[in-house]
Structures are given as structure tokens and as C-alpha cells.
């Protein structure tokens, strides 16, 4: 039997978020939608209008959720990317960002824009545009070719639809650069179970790439990708959540680079990768609320594929409100992998498949990141504009990839920056 909840309790439960300027009436409705369901809010609203003295007891939620769960086969409810969290329609917002990556001879930067708007609190439409201006003088380029500049433009649209406790998301995107075109489409479904204690999500994506080659317009090779996602988030206590996300990806087609070379007895030969690859990954994440205004998270991802690569990613982070306007984040991330079965820094015999792609070598990287968000303008319940600055320092260290200019194992540092304004309305 679920105990009744008073109107005061419901309002008090939203007070903290409202105080932080994260929305007023809209946020209250969304929070209530999260915890009691949209249909019940509508019923409550109707009862209130009819003079009902107080918020009805939540006891009726039991059969409601059981009924919803029974029709869970619909699995309506989707979060793009199978991010297994409680089902809710994404809020209206607009982001304008400048991003930058500098490291290893590569400078990649540019603007990005995201706009999301809901219609009738049932459908949310989104669109984004992302530009990468790349100046590439990486070790691969300077040792085998000439530095170059190019621009990649990615554009995408999305639609999210809420039906009862379910969310359905459809997205499509296209990424274009002079020698590579990537199109993709995806569908994700998420559904709450057990009174909102558990959220299950599934997703599927298909990608169609066309690989080209500079100065050779006749070269064109396809590569296709299939992604299957399954995830679940579980409420453990009033302060702790745990989630498990899994994903399998199958690739088929031209998976290598038309420019990269392998080395056999020191001589450069074109690299040859297998034309198929299947990978699997699972991420376990634990998130907890600590203190009055803080949160901590820890996650681990294990990855393995048919190219004999095994990798682990560990990350811990902490978030803290500072006053009414600041939100600060910090994290540490570590990644390590072993090399693919057909990777070698310098082959001693000719093989069917040969690669010297350092992305397939044995290496590790360590990242230290921080982020600050400042609420510039805030009208609770109406809109808010924030300025955000994020920075990450990453150290890459390769264990079996040498800089052929020096004969030493290769390593480099990278600096990643994101500066953006975000408006919620």
C-alpha cells in the first residue's frame, strides 16, 4: 500500500529545484509527471477544479503502474542514445557552443547549435548543427603525407513523443566532409516499471557511410553499421541510482583508412583491415546525492570486439552547487586497451590483415576535467540563460606505437574546451 502524499509534500519536493531556477510551473509539472505519471496529473487537475480538497492518495498508482507495465510491450518511451533514466519529455532549450580540441598535431574547433522545442507537452522536436574545422598535422599525417585542413559538418533532427510512462525518440543525422559521408537513423524506446523505480530502454541505429579519397574521385567504398542498445536504471534509495547500459555494434564494409599505411620490416605498405567487426560494451554507473547540494558518480565500461580488443574505462566525478547561481563539476577518467590481433608497430612477415592504426594499438589515456555553469539571467518558471565552460586535459600514452622520427614510444597531451550558452524556456 502506497501511503498518501499531501499537496504540501509534493510542492515541497519540487521546491529545491525551483529555488535553483531550473524551471517553475513547467518543471513542477515535469517533476510530478516523473513521479506520479501524466495521466494522474490530469486526473488530479480535474479533481482540483471540481473542488477536491487535497491531492488524492497515491494508492491508486499501484494498479495504474501495474496496468502500464502490462502494456509495457509497447515499450513506448525512448531516450535518444538509450540513456536509461526516468522517462520524461526533454525540456525546451537552445545551446550555442564553441568547441576545441588541440593535441597531437591536430586542431579541431568550430561552432555547434542545438534547439529543442516541445509541442503540447507531448512531442518535442530538436535540431542541431555541428561544425568541425580540422587542421591535421598528426603523427600519422606528418610521417606519411602532408598536413591538411578540412571541415566536417554534421546536422541532425529528432522527435521525442511521450505516451503515458513511455517515451519514443526518433533521430536522423548526416555528417559530411570532403572524403567521408556518414548518414544515420535511430529509434529508442524507454518505459518505466514498478512505480517508476525501474526504467528500461532499448534502441537501434543504422548507419550508412561512404568513404572517399582525396585526389581520387573514382574511389568510393561503403561501410554500414548496426547498433543495438539495451539499458536499465534502478532507484536504490532516495539518494542513489544505479544503471546498466549495454550496446552491440556490427560493422561491415570498408573499415580502414585509404591513406594509412602499415610497416613491414620498416617498409610502408597499405593497411588492410577486416571488412567486418562486431563489438560489445557494458557500462555500470552509480550515482548518489551527497550532502545538501552535491552528487557523486562512478562508472565502469568494459568493451570487447571480434578484433580481439579489450578495453576498460573508469570514471569518477563530483558535482556541487555553489550558491544560487553556480554549478561546478569535476571528474577523472582513465581508459586502457590492448591492441587488435592484426596490429603491429612493424610487422616481421606479410599478413592478410595489417594495420598500424594507433587507435588499434595498446595504449591508455588519463583525463582530468572540470566544468562551471553560471546562471546569468533567471526568471523562475519562465526562462533561464546559463554560461558554461568545460575543460579537460588528456594524456595519451602508447605502449607499442613508436614515433618513427625519434624511435621512442609515442605520447601526447590534449586540451579539450567547450564554451557555451544554454537557454531553457
Amino acid at each position: 500500500m502506497v501511503p498518501p502524499v499531501s499537496r504540501e509534500a509534493a510542492v515541497a519536493a519540487t521546491r529545491c529545484s525551483v529555488r535553483r531556477g531550473l524551471g517553475g510551473g513547467r518543471l513542477v509539472r515535469r517533476w510530478l509527471a516523473l513521479v506520479v505519471g501524466r495521466d494522474r496529473i490530469a486526473a488530479w487537475s480535474q479533481m482540483t477544479q471540481q473542488g477536491a480538497p487535497q491531492l488524492p492518495a497515491l494508492a491508486f498508482l499501484g494498479p495504474f503502474y501495474r496496468g502500464a507495465a502490462r502494456v509495457g510491450g509497447l515499450l513506448g518511451g525512448v531516450l535518444a542514445g538509450a540513456n536509461a533514466e526516468a522517462v520524461d519529455l526533454p525540456g525546451d532549450r537552445a545551446d550555442v557552443m564553441y568547441h576545441s580540441f588541440i593535441g597531437g598535431g591536430v586542431v579541431a574547433n568550430g561552432p555547434a547549435v542545438l534547439v529543442r522545442k516541445s509541442l503540447e507537452d507531448v512531442v518535442s522536436l530538436s535540431a542541431f548543427n555541428y561544425v568541425d574545422s580540422v587542421s591535421n598535422a598528426s603523427i600519422d599525417v606528418v610521417t606519411t603525407a602532408s598536413p591538411y585542413k578540412e571541415t566536417r559538418v554534421e546536422t541532425g533532427v529528432g522527435l521525442d513523443y511521450v505516451y503515458r510512462d513511455a517515451l519514443i525518440s526518433l533521430t536522423a543525422s548526416t555528417s559530411r566532409e570532403p572524403d567521408y559521408v556518414a548518414d544515420s537513423a535511430s529509434i529508442d524506446l524507454a518505459q518505466d516499471y514498478f512505480g517508476g523505480m525501474t526504467t528500461v530502454s532499448i534502441g537501434y541505429s543504422k548507419g550508412w557511410d561512404t568513404v572517399g579519397k582525396h585526389n581520387d574521385p573514382s574511389f568510393s567504398a561503403p561501410a554500414n553499421h548496426w547498433q543495438y542498445r539495451l539499458g536499465a536504471t534502478q532507484i536504490l534509495t532516495p539518494r542513489w541510482l544505479v544503471s546498466l547500459n549495454t550496446e552491440a555494434i556490427a560493422d561491415e564494409g570498408y573499415l580502414q583508412s585509404p591513406y594509412r599505411v602499415a610497416r613491414v620490416f620498416g617498409a610502408a605498405v597499405p593497411e588492410v583491415d577486416p571488412s567486418t567487426r562486431t563489438s560489445r560494451a557494458a557500462t555500470l554507473r552509480l550515482t548518489g546525492s551527497v550532502g545538501a547540494q552535491g552528487a557523486v558518480h562512478a562508472q565502469y565500461r568494459y568493451f570487447w570486439d571480434t578484433w580481439d580488443i579489450h578495453a576498460g574505462t573508469e570514471e569518477v566525478g563530483y558535482s556541487q552547487y555553489a550558491g544560487k547561481r553556480w554549478l561546478l563539476d569535476g571528474f577523472v577518467r582513465h581508459y586502457s586497451q590492448n591492441h587488435a590481433s592484426f596490429y603491429s608497430d612493424n610487422f616481421t612477415s606479410e599478413m592478410t590483415y595489417m594495420s598500424r592504426n594507433r587507435q588499434l594499438s595498446t595504449f591508455n589515456d588519463l583525463g582530468l576535467g572540470a566544468k562551471a555553469s553560471y546562471s546569468m539571467i533567471r526568471e523562475p518558471g519562465r526562462y533561464e540563460i546559463k554560461f558554461n565552460a568545460a575543460y579537460e586535459w588528456i594524456r595519451f600514452h602508447y605502449n607499442d606505437f613508436t614515433d618513427i622520427r625519434t624511435g621512442q614510444l609515442y605520447s601526447f597531451n590534449a586540451n579539450v574546451v567547450e564554451l557555451f550558452f544554454s537557454a531553457t524556456f
Binding site: A13, R152, S184, Y193
Partner: protein, 75 residues
């Protein structure tokens, strides 16, 4: 594919469990802290997409992050 079988079995299990009357042990009115944005794994989709792209084009591992990347593997 084994993974697809796992998905189908998981969905079947979820459907069967859907009929069970498991009562929430964390009541709706106790979820204030869980609803706070700082509990989300991804608060800013655009910035997270950029970070994910940085990792995707330099690491062999991919997927299960809840964030979709895109584009080439340009190094």
C-alpha cells in the same frame, strides 16, 4: 546473434515482471534528490556529444555511453 537473443529475453522478462505487483520501496515523495539535474548522466547534450566524439575517434572502445557520436574516424 547472441546479443539480440539477450535483448529478446530481457524484453520477455520485463513483460512478465510487468504483471508482478512490486511496490516501490522509494516512495514518489522521497525522490526529490533523484529528480535534481545533477543526478543526470548527461545534462548538456551538445557538450557531451563533443566529448564523446573526441573519445570515439581516438579510442577503439565505443558504445554503451548513452550518447551518440557521429562522423569519421579522422585522426
Amino acid at each position: 546473434m547472441k546479443f539480440q537473443r539477450v535483448i529478446y529475453l530481457s524484453l520477455l522478462t520485463a513483460l512478465l515482471l510487468g504483471g508482478c505487483g512490486i511496490e516501490p520501496w522509494v516512495k514518489p515523495y522521497e525522490r526529490e534528490r533523484l529528480a535534481d539535474p545533477i543526478m543526470q548522466s548527461s545534462r548538456d547534450a551538445l557538450a557531451d556529444k563533443h566529448h564523446e566524439h573526441v573519445y570515439d575517434v581516438r579510442e577503439a572502445a565505443r558504445g554503451a555511453t548513452g550518447i551518440q557520436g557521429g562522423g569519421c574516424g579522422c585522426n
